[in-house]
Structures are given as structure tokens and as C-alpha cells.
Amino acid sequence: MSRLASTFDALRRQHRTGLVTYVTAGDPSLRVSADILRTLDRAGADVLEVGVPFSDPLADGPVIQRASERALAAGTTLAGVLDLIDRTRPEIAAPIVVFSYANPILRMGLPAFIERASRAGVDGVLVLDLPIEEAGALQQQLGRADIDMIFLLSPTSTTARIRRAATLGRGFLYAISRLGVTGARDAVARDARDLVARIRAESGLPVALGFGVSRPEHVTEIGQWADAAVVGSALVDVIAQHREAADLAGRVEQYVRWMKGVVPA
């Protein structure tokens, strides 16, 4: 069983709602990112999504756009992100998912990417602008390397698309709560619950719901119908606010514990 599968299996057995965390690697630097990943794991994040910065993040809102710009300005590349995972993997219990746009991966070349990801101990790969119809080659080659390919599903996804993602995807399915780019919102969108129900009708894979998640009550609400909630922009914003501070790791830890309902804000 893959690390992602056993993580979600344990969440179900324990009747817990998982917390998936996204950070942009290299913001503010790869060295600090290593601390952040270790901190997230220690604070109880169930899955770590590690974002690869890209020059043209057209599915992202302003918070992750700025994080990508800072990471690129600090010299971060896909190769550097895989090295970061390689170095930190032995100290981290949670599964690690590489979250990227297509071009950095295609530029490295699929065989080289998969070889390096495999060696680094990457558990899953999610590519924002590689929908099912373009993902065939990557999905097959990842499968041979025992790395899970994770697909996104949206309120606009048809039943036929949900079925194909359920067949090709492994680890979990990432449900997008609402139309639009990434970014924190005050409330969980109404579309979200319907989408999760439509996915459940087609697939037994775990479902993590993201986009717009920023508060512990969102996680509680999402937990009523999905396996996990994904927090991205809100966490990236915590890093942005405190990136110069000596206690950045402490702030990140505090935020994650708050999201998990362990400590008050």
C-alpha cells in the first residue's frame, strides 16, 4: 500500500478529517522550506503538498503568485525542489506530493523527473494544467515507479471526467471547492458538497477538498463529507507575513495546530 493510501486508510479508521498543507517550495528559500516541511509534519499535517514555483501560475491567486515570484527570485527550480524533498524525506512521516505546472516537468523530461522524484521519495504528483486527456504518458510512467498521480476535479467536471479521473488517479482525488483560482475565502462554497457527493458516487478513492480553506471550522465542515481539507493560500500567507521573523517555524506550527483544532489562535 502506498504511503498516501495508508495515510487515508488510517484517517478513515480513526474517523479523523485529514489536513493537507500546501507550501510553495523556495519561499523564502529552500533552506527555510526544509524547516517548514519538518514543522508541518511535526504539527500534524497529514499530507504535505510541495509547490514548484512557475513563472506563469495561471491557476493561482495573488498569494501563491507572490510566493512563486519570491521563490523564483531566490533561484528555486524543479531540480532544487526535488533535492529539498530528497534531503528532508528521512525526517518526515507524512506523504509528500509534488504540486507543479506542466512545463517545468516537461522541460526536465518525464524519465528524468520520475527517476529523481522516485529517488527523492516523492509519494504523489499533481499537475495543475495537465488534465486527464494530456496526462496519459506521465500517469503511466509514474505508475511504473509506484508514485501516485493525483487528479483535480472541479464543479464543472462532468460525470464522464470524474469516472476517468477515478480510474486513472491514485492516492486521493483533489476536489476544487469552487470555480476560480487558489485563494482563501471566508466560507466553504456551496458547490463543494455536491461535487464531493458526485465523486463519491463514482469512486472509492479518498477525497481531499481545497481552494478557499483558511479556518478550523472549514476543516470541520469539510470533514462531514470529505476525507481531508487542503489549506494552501492561507498557510502561504502566514509564511509571507512572517518570512523575515526568527520564529517563522513557530508561527507555521501554531497555524497548523489551530487548523487541526488543537490550540486556539
Partner: protein, 413 residues
């Protein structure tokens, strides 16, 4: 991924996944994947619907002023000292560039699909003006994204769009030019796709855009082929067009693809020099990659990030080229070259003084290369240049450069 282009009923369609050879496809976020399938289905139905075609043809004729003339530029030809140069006068369309052909087509399609709102990107502002015009005509709400740098160098077009009732949205991210305007337009569309159509202005982006935009623009070549035969008695020896995304070029090339003796030449922006960040010649400095929904030649660094571009002409200042151009180039059917800022500026002035025609700086790249080829070809040859737009919008920035402003043009070395 390497299937051949299908020819059905005289049409050249990409394969069903939207590939032209190894180029094209649909690299979009999941939220856009199903809506893009719907758009493709709606477009394929519309192009076979006689009523839709008739409505568009009527608008192109009575509203946009088609057919545009083909004009023999005798004084320019004389100065070039070689082949006879004919100009396809897209600059004479309503709104002053070929962009109106596509804007009217897609706006009609949006209305047919029940979309009430349009978003668009613009570089030089010509596509934004054409889109704002089509939206005014059809009563659609219109938001146009434009890079802050482009808003500055094309201030006249910003005001034109606003007069036409559009909202121009300033983009401050990235390089503040066309690429960043497309990113913002796509971010808007991802949030609003249920009631909004993205009216993409070139043969770029995910399938069906490269097909749809080419077919809306192919009227240029269909007219020009008849006109040149009527006026010169035969097909041209070479056709020259500038290539940003490549919609005016593909529009004029399309009707001549089977005429194997006609050379098809696309001219990219050479900028200041073919050095990273100082040009937009994708075939000279780029490699295959994925940008904004399509796989094509892209200016990118070793890590797959998109490089900055430069051109004196906002409409050519973009890091990727239309996927069908990538295919035409790799199959050898079309050839691609580049012209520097300085040579484009010289052609801008030359055409103005010799023919009384102010070309858009984009089109001036084609004129500049055409005069060079005309000399090489010699006197008994015929060339057809797509004069894709008029240069009124560029007068201010040209004045600034000629008076020694800071936007110093480079030279071809």
C-alpha cells in the same frame, strides 16, 4: 501525439485532441476542461450552420468593410529594387486590423452559446478594440486585460476601448505585457466560465482556439488568393506576414498551403538582439514547451520558466507562437525569420513616405522583411504582404523613439 492533421471536407482539422503533429493540445486547469469541450462542440456545430456563417459574412461585409483590397505598392517595390510587392490591406477594416474578423466570429459564437459576458486579453490593443467593438455591437458585457507597460505604449487604444463601453483591467504582474494579460484573463475565466466566454485573440491557447481563430481569419487568404490571381494573373512567389501569436499569418497562409510553389514566410520580432530577454523570436531562441494551454515553441530557461521578451511592437512581444506555426515550421511548409526593432521602425517610415500608408509596427516587421526578399527574388517575381493593421496607435511611441526617447531600438547584427 504525432498524428497527422486530418483533412475532411476540404478542411484541415487537428486530431481530435487538438494536436498539429506534436503541437497543440489542451493544457488547462480541470475547471476549464469541460467548458472547453463544450466550446469545441459549439464551434464545430456553428461552422456547419449556414445561418451562423451567413450572419458572420454579412457583418464582415456590411459592418467590417470586407473584402479588403489588395494593393500593388509600386513605389515601395521600386525602392526595394526587385519583385512586385502587393499589400493585403487588413489595415482598412473597421477598427484598423485583422483582429475584427475573429472578434466578430467569436462574439457571435458566445451569443449563440448564451454567454452574456466576454473577457479578452490584449497586447497592442487592436484585439481589445476589436473585441470591445464586437461586444458593443452585440450587446455583450466586456472586460479586457492589458499589461501596464502595454497600456502606456498603446494609450490611444485604451481610451478607444473605454469609449466602446469595455472595462480595461490593468495587469501589473510579471512582465506587464501580453503574456501576463493572458494569465489574468484566464484567471478571470476560471472563476466565471459558466456565463463568460474568453475571446482569445490569436491562434494560441488550448484547442479549439488555434483552429477556431485560424478559420475566422482564413478569409484573409481566401480573398487574397482570388485578388492576386485577378490582378497579377497568377499566384505570388512568396507571402510574408508578421507572427506574434500568428493569427494574421495563418489567416493569409491558409488558402495557399496546397500551393506548394508559394513560399510562406513568417516574421517574428527580433527586438534589440537575439539574446535572452531582448527579443520575441521563438523559432530563433525557443524550444518546445507548454504555455497557457498549448504545446509549442516557447522562450524558456533551463528550468522551464518562461523568459522575458522584448519588442518595439506590443503585438509581437510574446513568449510563445501558435502551435500550428510550430507544425508548419517543423514540416518545412513555412519558414520563419525575424526583424529587429530598428529595421521595423525604418520600414514603418518607409511605407509611410513612399505609399502614404502608416503600418502597425507589427506589420512593419513583415514589410521590412518583404523588401529584403524582394531584392533577392528579382523583378519578375510577385510578393504578397499581409498588412495586418494600421499604425495610428503607434504614432506616439514612434515619435518618442525618433526623438531619442528611452525605448531605443536595436539592430540586426
Amino acid at each position: 501525439m504525432t498524428q497527422q492533421i486530418v483533412t475532411t471536407c476540404g478542411r484541415r482539422d487537428p486530431d481530435e485532441r487538438g494536436y498539429y503533429g506534436a503541437f497543440g493540445g489542451r493544457y488547462v486547469p480541470e475547471t476549464l476542461a469541460a467548458p472547453i469541450e463544450e466550446l469545441a462542440a459549439a464551434y464545430l456545430a456553428a461552422r456547419d450552420d449556414g445561418m451562423f456563417r451567413q450572419t458572420l459574412d454579412d457583418l464582415l461585409h456590411h459592418y467590417a468593410g470586407r473584402p479588403t483590397p489588395v494593393y500593388e505598392a509600386r513605389r515601395l517595390s521600386g525602392a526595394a529594387g526587385g519583385a512586385r510587392i502587393f499589400l493585403k490591406r487588413e489595415d482598412l477594416t473597421h477598427t484598423g486590423a485583422h483582429k475584427i474578423n475573429n472578434a466578430l466570429g467569436q462574439a457571435l459564437l458566445a451569443r449563440r452559446m448564451g454567454k452574456r459576458r466576454i473577457v479578452a486579453e490584449t497586447g497592442a490593443g487592436q484585439h481589445g478594440v476589436a473585441t470591445a467593438t464586437a461586444c458593443a455591437l452585440l450587446g455583450l458585457s466586456c472586460d479586457v486585460y492589458m499589461g501596464a507597460e502595454d497600456m502606456e505604449r498603446q494609450a490611444l487604444n485604451v481610451f478607444r476601448m473605454e469609449l466602446l463601453g469595455a472595462t480595461v483591467r490593468r495587469v501589473d504582474g510579471g512582465s506587464r505585457t501580453l503574456k501576463d494579460a493572458i494569465n489574468e484573463a484566464m484567471r478571470d475565466w476560471v472563476a466565471t466560465v459558466r456565463d463568460t466566454h474568453y475571446l482569445l485573440g490569436s491562434v494560441l491557447g488550448p484547442h479549439p482556439y488555434p483552429l477556431m481563430v485560424r478559420e475566422f481569419q482564413s478569409i484573409i487568404g481566401r480573398e487574397a488568393r482570388q485578388q492576386i490571381i485577378a490582378q497579377a494573373g497568377r499566384l505570388p512567389d512568396a507571402i510574408v506576414a508578421c507572427v506574434g501569436g500568428g493569427s494574421n499569418a495563418i489567416g493569409i497562409f491558409d488558402a495557399f498551403l496546397e500551393d506548394r510553389d508559394v513560399r510562406l514566410i513568417g516574421v517574428e520580432a527580433g527586438g534589440e538582439a537575439i539574446v535572452s530577454g531582448r527579443h520575441a523570436a521563438r523559432f530563433a531562441g525557443g524550444s518546445p514547451g507548454v504555455l497557457q494551454g498549448t504545446r509549442t515553441y516557447v522562450l524558456q530557461d533551463a528550468a522551464g520558466n518562461i523568459e522575458a521578451t522584448h519588442s518595439i511592437s506590443a503585438g509581437l512581444d510574446y513568449a510563445a507562437v501558435g502551435p500550428e506555426h510550430a507544425w508548419l515550421r517543423d514540416t518545412g511548409r513555412a519558414e520563419y525569420t525575424w526583424i529587429s526593432d530598428r529595421d521595423a521602425l525604418e520600414a514603418f517610415q518607409q511605407l509611410s513616405k513612399l505609399e502614404g500608408i502608416l503600418p502597425a509596427l507589427e506589420s512593419a516587421h513583415a514589410v521590412a522583411y518583404a523588401t529584403r526578399v524582394a531584392r533577392e527574388l528579382g523583378r519578375d517575381k510577385i510578393m504578397l504582404v499581409n498588412l495586418s493593421g494600421r499604425g495610428d496607435k503607434d504614432v506616439q511611441s514612434v515619435a518618442k523613439v525618433l526623438s531619442g526617447g528611452n525605448e531605443g531600438p536595436g539592430t540586426r547584427e
